[in-house]
């Protein structure tokens, strides 16, 4: 009887060690690679926006395609543009020429940006505007599934998530 129990435990342990453990390890590494690829592609996209001063529909679509095709995950992309308004600072300077005054930023959110992209085919920005890109995956990766099964982890955290923010350095108007 004892031998049978030990045998079953051994088989169970062997299965975990020989199959589950390597699979989980590889799945974790896969998530790390996807995360790195996501960061790289997002940084490249953000730098292009910063140096050209515009977000084109082609570049945006290519970016979304690239991040999806790299890892097979489904991503949710948020692009926010903080538009610089120097008029308040000019009003201060009008009164007192030696003052600098504060510029103001107002935010244009993802849905507004997507609408503009669809309408005009591109979004033009100017020097001083700030662009923030946030990406997170919305599907469950294999690693997350394993963790849910073996650790009971039910959290909604994303395996792959990144954000990138940059100040635009060129005026985009052609």
């Amino acid at each position: 009887m004892n031998d049978t129990v030990i045998t079953i435990v051994a088989i169970f342990l062997a299965a975990i060690l020989m199959f589950i453990f390597p699979l989980m390890t590889i799945a974790d590494r896969n998530d790390d690679i996807s995360q790195q690829a996501l960061q790289t592609v997002t940084a490249e996209f953000g730098n292009t926006i910063s140096l050209t001063g515009k977000i084109t529909e082609e570049a945006y679509d290519a970016y979304v395609l690239k991040i999806s095709s790299n890892s097979g995950n489904v991503y949710e992309v948020e692009i926010e543009c903080q538009i610089l308004d120097e008029n308040p600072a000019k009003k201060v300077t009008q009164v007192e020429t030696t003052k600098i005054g504060e510029n103001v930023y107002f935010t244009r959110y993802t849905s507004q940006n997507e609408e503009l992209l669809k309408q005009n085919g591109e979004i033009n920005l100017k020097e001083g505007d700030i662009v923030t890109i946030r990406v997170r995956n919305t599907n469950k990766t294999i690693s997350q599934l394993f963790k849910k099964v073996f650790y009971g982890s039910e959290s909604d955290y994303s395996a792959n998530e990144t954000s990138f923010s940059t100040v635009v350095k060129a005026n985009g108007q052609g």
Partner: protein, 616 residues
């Protein structure tokens, strides 16, 4: 073998593999993260350098003096290195640590460029060291110095036939300088290249005397009619019949003076070009007592269109026609009026004529024979250069450079100009890189994309390379191109703002401006155009004893939220035409075009240029 033994053996084999794999992946992740950090640093440092250049030139009244510009560029490069090393906070890098990884920094200006790159220099013997070898090079004492090389113009030498051998310096727009022998005559000239591709005799004098006229005819009477578009129809009495012409862009007048008079036309008249029945005619206007006269220029004839300078009554389609204005009231006449009215369509105004200096038309005519394949490289024709040379694009290229469509975006002139600039930069970049690489033949020039070249060929840019920077177990290679958005060296075509009568400044193709014109809250004639640089913050020092003051040159004006703050405007050009909303009416469109080209000409007149002394 028992299962547990197999399991242990399996673990012994797999665990190290997994550990090594994890370590390797982590190392790759670290490399990529560090690479992104270096890229961000490079971009920020290049941008800081460009900002420093803009700040220095904005507040330097001697920017167009060669030495001053060289100092500004040198300061900009120092800013690049300072900014780059400062971003490596705790690493303790100095400029000397970073310089070996910078093969070249290229700073493109309006009509040429600087290259900052390493070069070998040798010490020479002094008299005290060795009187016999004084001035001789110490061959064993080579050192590498990073210096700003002399300014390289965007130039090309052309040899056409036996009596034309000229050097032409190009720029970022249609401004050129020409030196050399042209059709046997030595010339040294600079100015804007503009064509009269409109088929009109270009008379630069602008003054006429009565003896030129062989025929004069005046309108017996003028018929004025405003339609819903507020366009003015002028009844033009030509010699052989009656034709009705519509002139747009003209404000109203009173009842015409029907007395036929002969007057001397005043000098310095201004003119515009109109397309009349498919022929481009020059239409002059001159002050004539209280009336404004328009007349057509023929080969020795003047046919006058008499118009009126005071307020007209606006007549809409439901308003009865006013007989005082002698507008045809009968159906047949009215039908004939409607059938024969022709529209004077103003063509793209050559307002550069009025303000900017142009290349003499005779010089331009002589240049028309030159073709791209006439380029000379190192004293020989371009046909003999190696196929890998950047100038190989001109081999067998028989395109006439100075054709009749120079101002068009896709003209032969513009395409050739860009190729010359590109070839010059590529050639000198390769030379700089060769000098940097020495024996390291694996270093190659990065392949620039079309977008990169577009930036370089249309802006003042700073172009930094980084090569061979250690990055864990690999090296970092990258380049960054930063463009200047506000400088006095070059006013790009989208670098103009227009202040309206509500103290708001717009771009010329702003949708809000167009709506305001349609709603009549903005008068297009009230627009005043300035370069975008003038809306940047400046500083002045009123005198040596008072402190510096920061100010905005145009006080009390604010940016339009549609076109300036949110940059929500369409492309400035559609084809070769300005992209102005046509629903504002032809008259307003013409006014805006005129305002735009006048402002562009004025802005470019004040650009910093080293060859100003050669202008006419």
């Amino acid at each position: 073998m028992k299962l547990q033994h197999m399991t242990v053996i399996f673990i012994i084999i797999v665990l190290p593999i997994t550990l090594v794999l994890s370590y390797y992946i982590q190392a790759q992740i670290d490399i990529v993260t560090l690479r992104q950090s270096y890229t961000a640093n490079l971009i920020n440092a290049t941008h800081d350098a460009m900002l420093a250049y803009e700040l220095n030139t904005m507040n330097n009244e001697y920017s167009d003096v060669a030495d001053s510009k060289k100092r500004d560029v040198q300061a900009s490069i120092n800013t690049f290195f300072n900014s780059f090393v400062n971003q490596f906070n705790t690493s303790g890098y100095k400029k000397e640590d970073i310089e070996p990884y910078i093969p070249a920094i290229i700073f493109t200006c309006y009509d040429g460029y600087y290259i900052y790159s390493p070069m070998d220099s040798y010490e020479r013997y002094t008299y005290e060291e060795n009187p016999n070898l004084e001035g001789e090079v110490k061959s064993d004492n080579k050192k590498t110095e990073y210096t700003l090389k002399p300014y390289v113009y965007y130039s090309a030498r052309y040899k056409h036939g036996s009596n034309t051998d000229v050097v032409i310096n190009y720029s970022l727009d249609n401004y050129i300088s020409i030196y050399g022998e042209l059709n046997g005559n030595y010339i040294s000239e600079a100015g804007y290249v503009m064509t009269n591709n409109l088929g009109v005799d270009d008379d630069n004098s602008g003054s006429y005397s009565e003896t030129v006229f062989t025929e004069e005819s005046y309108l017996q009477e003028g018929s004025l009619y405003w339609d819903n578009d507020l366009q003015l129809y002028i009844y033009l009495n030509k010699d052989s019949g009656n034709d009705y012409y519509k002139i747009s862009g003209f404000s109203g007048g009173t009842k015409p003076n029907t007395q036929v008079q002969k007057k001397i036309v005043k000098t310095n008249t201004s003119y515009r070009f109109y397309n009349i029945d498919g022929t481009i005619r020059k239409v002059y206007d001159s002050e004539f007592d209280n009336d404004v006269k328009f007349y057509l220029s023929g080969s020795n004839t003047r046919t006058y269109i008499k118009t009126y300078s005071s307020t007209y009554r606006i007549i809409n389609s439901n308003y009865p026609l006013n007989a005082d204005y002698d507008i045809p009231t009968g159906t047949a006449e009215r039908n004939r009026f409607e059938a024969t009215k022709k529209e004077l369509i103003e063509v793209k105004p050559n307002d550069y004529n009025a303000v900017a200096n142009k290349i003499n038309q005779n010089t331009l005519s002589s240049l028309k024979a030159i073709q791209a394949s006439d380029i000379m490289i190192n004293g020989t024709n371009v046909s003999s250069v190696d196929d890998n040379s950047p100038y190989a694009v001109f081999k067998n290229d028989n395109t006439k450079i100075f054709d009749d469509t120079i101002e068009n975006i896709d003209s032969n002139f513009n395409e050739h100009r860009k190729k010359v600039i590109k070839a010059s930069i590529e050639q000198n970049m390769q030379l700089a890189l060769n000098s940097y690489a020495q024996n390291n033949t694996s270093l190659k020039l990065p392949k620039l994309t079309e977008e990169d070249w577009d930036k370089i060929l249309n802006n003042i840019t700073m172009f930094t390379f980084m090569q061979g920077m250690p990055l864990k177990n690999t090296v970092y290679n990258d380049y960054v191109i930063a463009t200047s958005n506000a400088n006095k060296d070059y006013i790009p075509e989208n670098g103009l703002y227009f202040i309206d009568n509500t103290n708001t400044y717009h771009k010329i193709n702003c949708k809000t401006l167009a709506n305001n014109i349609k709603n009549r809250t903005t008068d297009p004639n009230s627009l005043m155009g300035y370069s975008a640089v003038e809306f940047e913050r400046h500083y002045i020092r009123p005198d040596t004893s008072t402190q510096q003051t920061n100010y905005y040159k145009h006080e009390g004006v604010f940016a339009c939220y549609d076109c300036i703050v949110t940059s929500n405007t369409p492309e400035l050009y559609v084809g070769n035409e300005l992209n102005i909303d046509s629903t504002i009416g032809a008259s307003a469109v013409n006014t805006l075009k005129q305002k735009y080209y006048n402002a562009l000409a004025m802005a470019r007149l004040t650009q910093n240029r080293a060859t100003k002394y050669l202008e006419n």
